[in-house]
């Protein structure tokens, strides 16, 4: 089943690359760049998890992101997972909205993020790490964890800056179950830069201007009444984005756990296609 999921993800990636804007290379961190108004981005993002114990898993999410206005971006995520020697299936959905708070570029550009998630305990996309999330969350058998309902609200304060071709972004995350406190906290930090700042006159596919390198650092910060780094998990993840032709971007990011409570590693892959929904 794991192999089937892998193959289907690769086929989807190929289809998207044939259809063909260079996006941010980040998988976890958000910056202040919004979806262009009227544009729809379709992305498939498989995440390969390597836990310290238990079975390897591939989680994946289909992302449909729409630029409602220049300052408001909305997105729907459909999550699924496949765990080796266990089972595969749909694990839930997420509705996300991002609101840019200032209408002009400033030294620091704040964006407010609000997400509602209705997922089950087998969801393993790890799109953000909060509270005391750790490797033990991944070893619970899917047959049991899928019965656990998680209806969550998640908020982020996104701060982002562009300087001399570099992007610097920081996210402060607060998340809680709708009917079960406490608030859990997390963070994500990232920086990125294209390999070449100016464009060349000729069309090119694998040239430096189309490649962006970045680095992400993210993890949990404990919970309400117990904000701490102790027993939390943290990850460091270099990332690369390759802008292909006609609006397709390929992103890859291997990430490694930095603390004893972290998973050993994640490998994230993303293929996105962006185009105008309405002419």
């Amino acid at each position: 089943m794991l192999r089937l999921s892998l193959i289907s993800n690769m086929v989807l990636a190929l289809i998207a690359s044939l259809a063909s804007a260079q996006e941010s290379p980040y998988f976890v961190t958000y910056n202040h760049h919004m979806e262009e108004p009227g544009n729809l981005e379709v992305a498939i993002n498989p995440v390969f998890g390597v836990p310290k114990q238990g079975n390897r898993a591939v989680a994946s999410y289909l992302e449909l992101e729409y630029g409602a206005t220049g300052w408001w971006t909305t997105a729907l995520y459909l999550d699924g997972q496949s765990t080796s020697r266990e089972s595969s299936g749909f694990t839930g959905y997420r509705l996300e909205n991002r609101f840019r708070l200032l209408m002009k570029e400033h030294r620091i550009n704040p964006v407010l993020y609000v997400e509602f998630a209705d997922v089950n305990g087998a969801d393993k996309i790890s799109k953000e790490i909060v509270g005391f999330d750790g490797w033990r969350d991944f070893i619970e058998p899917v047959a049991e964890s899928r019965h656990e309902k998680k209806r969550e609200i998640e908020t982020k304060l996104i701060l982002s800056n562009n300087t001399r071709g570099w992007n610097f972004a920081g996210n402060l995350i607060a998340e809680r179950h709708l009917n079960a406190p406490p608030w859990e906290f997390g963070y994500a930090l990232a920086t990125s830069r294209p390999l070449a700042l100016a464009a060349t006159a000729s069309e090119c596919r694998f040239c430096r201007e189309n490649i962006t390198l970045g680095l992400e650092l993210y993890g949990g910060l404990g919970e309400e009444g117990h904000v701490t780094l102790h027993e939390t998990s943290h990850y460091i993840a270099p990332t690369i984005a390759l802008g292909l032709l006609n609006g397709t971007t390929l992103r890859v990011s291997p990430g490694w756990g930095l603390t004893g409570n972290s998973n050993r590693a994640f490998v994230r892959i993303g293929v996105s296609y962006e185009g105008r929904l309405f002419r």
């Binding site: 108004p37 209408m103 100016a198 464009a199």
Partner: protein, 106 residues
């Protein structure tokens, strides 16, 4: 003292304006690169020949041509988020100047 400070302020603002002039003025390669960037990022709204669409205006009008390079660069950077024009700050400064060079060539 006040006059000296004022002079310094004017000088500083002049220097800033000078730094903001298009570094690609008169460079054919930059115009071609700007055309490529235009096709990738702008043509879907403003049209392949910058003639405009229902959703976005023509870029071949005096309203655009009468603006300074700096004003065009600033507009590309900030956009008009309430009016539907996105911010292109995601593109490095160099690429936005290349787009300005292309717009000047229209």
């Amino acid at each position: 003292m006040k006059r000296a400070a004022l002079l310094l302020l004017i000088l500083a603002s002049t220097c800033r304006t000078a730094q903001q002039s298009n570094p690609y003025t008169g460079q054919t390669e930059a115009v071609m690169a700007g055309a490529k960037l235009y096709r990738a990022h702008c043509a879907s709204c403003h049209g392949a020949a910058a003639e405009g669409h229902e959703t976005a205006p023509s870029l071949k009008t005096p309203r655009v041509h009468d603006r300074s390079d700096t004003a065009l660069f600033s507009f590309l950077t900030n956009g008009d988020l309430k009016g539907g024009m996105p911010s292109w700050s995601r593109l490095p400064d160099e690429r936005r100047w290349q787009i300005v060079a292309y717009l000047r060539s229209l």
